[in-house]
């Protein structure tokens, strides 16, 4: 009883519904991380209403999407955040939400610990305040740590600590693991992409080739129980593949729903070139997922182009399309971080400034980076210029 088609091939051709997806609830954020993939900061005036959001959840339930990763911006500062989380879990859609920790009080942590169907992911990009806050802003390490303390104290085992790997934190992998262990959490290491504001800092922050190898070796040696969101499938070109499907899930098994209802192939590809449709149009999300031209194309055979003759191609599949797109590389060529160095070579012939810019920018105007967080009164809700910057005690 042998199987004719490998599992991964079924997924590459796309399924009738996503297995999971990322849903950015708001572009508002109390932070201004330098590498933000969604260029978040300010709420968009056209964001989905509570009723519209519930209609999306109804669709996800009908389609049997198993879980949504709710993010943003900072999703917990949307006034209806908890209402929507409860609605999702009551409608058989599991929730993991990604947060910088700003609203994870002891009371909230207790509620979360008592719920079976809500998972929490705390963002952390440095094992020390010095490294973390250089990217995420002063005080953000403290906010995240406090949130983790509250979750641990409330008995929430196994929440996620999610790291974007950069040039400045590759040396801290053991320390990240220690932090996760200290709080009874699960470490998650993910790839920096040149998406959103990430494009502006990618040259400065993406790991060097040597560091990328170091990361790969670390994952093989110490990565038991460390999640990666399959974000390092381009490293399969080194040899042994890391755990995961090892393929680009965009438009095939995952996608992004953004705060205004636009559907993109993935959260790292917020650009008109990867926009499949909008949930507000007739047929809603299901119609976009099943019928959009973009997704139909992604689910078909992909041109290996320049990569097809490479011995590593079967493993790396040409890498990440978002990473290629936002560095100005052709999609049918090497990933900018191709383990054989072909991407770096190809980048040399990309004209400076010619790489596509993100289609949207909800960044808050800032005169200096990193942003200094100050304690403020809760703002008037009608004002979307100053999202809540309350630090959790």
């Amino acid at each position: 009883m042998s199987v004719a088609i490998p599992l991964v091939e079924h997924f590459a051709r796309g399924l009738d519904a996503p297995i999971c997806l990322t849903w950015e609830l708001t572009y508002a954020c109390n932070l201004a991380c330098r590498h933000c993939l969604s260029s978040s900061g300010r709420r968009d005036p056209a964001e989905l209403s509570t009723a519209e959001a519930k209609a999306v959840i109804d669709e996800l339930e009908r389609m049997q999407v198993f879980y949504v990763n709710i993010g943003g911006g900072e999703p917990t500062i949307r006034p209806d955040f908890w209402e929507l989380v409860d609605y999702a879990t009551a409608h058989h859609v599991g929730v993991k939400f990604s947060t910088n920790g700003v609203r994870i009080t002891p009371e909230v942590a207790g509620r979360l610990a008592a719920s079976d169907y809500v998972d929490v992911q705390i963002s952390l990009d440095g094992a020390t305040a010095e490294v973390n806050d250089a990217v995420r802003g002063e005080g953000s390490f403290a906010t995240a740590t406090t949130a983790m303390e509250h979750l641990a104290a409330a008995g929430f085992g196994g929440f996620k600590v999610s790291v974007v790997c950069t040039r400045h934190n590759i040396a801290q992998l053991d320390a990240f693991k220690a932090i996760a262990d200290r709080y009874g959490a699960q470490l998650r290491l993910t790839r920096l992409r040149p998406s959103g504001r990430g494009a502006d800092v990618w040259d400065e922050l993406h790991p060097t080739a040597a560091q990328q190898r170091e990361l790969y070796d670390w994952l093989l040696a110490h990565g038991e129980g460390v999640l990666t969101g399959d974000s390092f499938f381009h490293l399969a070109g080194y040899g042994e593949a890391l755990p995961g499907l090892n393929l680009c899930g965009a438009g095939r098994v995952v996608c992004l729903i953004d705060p205004v209802g636009d559907v993109y192939a993935c959260p790292f590809a917020i650009h008109d070139a990867f926009r499949a449709g909008n949930v507000r149009h007739p047929g809603g999300f299901a119609a976009v997922w099943r019928e959009s031209e973009l997704f139909r194309t992604l689910r078909g055979p992909q041109a290996g182009g320049a990569c097809a003759a490479c011995s590593a191609y079967d493993s790396c599949r040409g890498g990440c399309m978002a990473a290629k797109f936002f560095t100005g590389l052709p999609l049918d060529g090497p990933d900018p971080e191709c383990v054989k160095g072909f991407g770096e070579l190809r980048l040399a012939s990309v004209e400076p400034g010619s790489a596509p810019k993100p289609s949207l920018d909800h960044s808050r105007p800032a005169t200096a980076v990193p942003v200094t967080l100050q304690r403020r009164r809760p703002p008037d809700r009608a004002c979307d210029e100053n999202p809540l910057t309350l630090t959790v005690r």
Partner: protein
Amino acid sequence: MPSPVLDRAWALAPQVSVRPEPFGALLYHFGTRRLSFLKDRRLLAVVQGLADAPTARAACTGAGIGPAEIGPYERALARLTDTAMLEERRP
């Protein structure tokens, strides 16, 4: 041949969501957050028939699986019990 898996009664754990697919099915356990992929439509039929069958072996027969082919199905069911996708049904 007696089997600890085939000779018992099983059912899908209540927190498991089954999503049929053209090539088999996806199973997701909301409690363990485990995702399993069934690579065979007849295996899906077996799994769906377990709750009403006196034994797993009977569920296999009901799905048209004869004794000569039952080996892989037994191993698959054993795996699903290991990962808590299936729980034993006590009469």
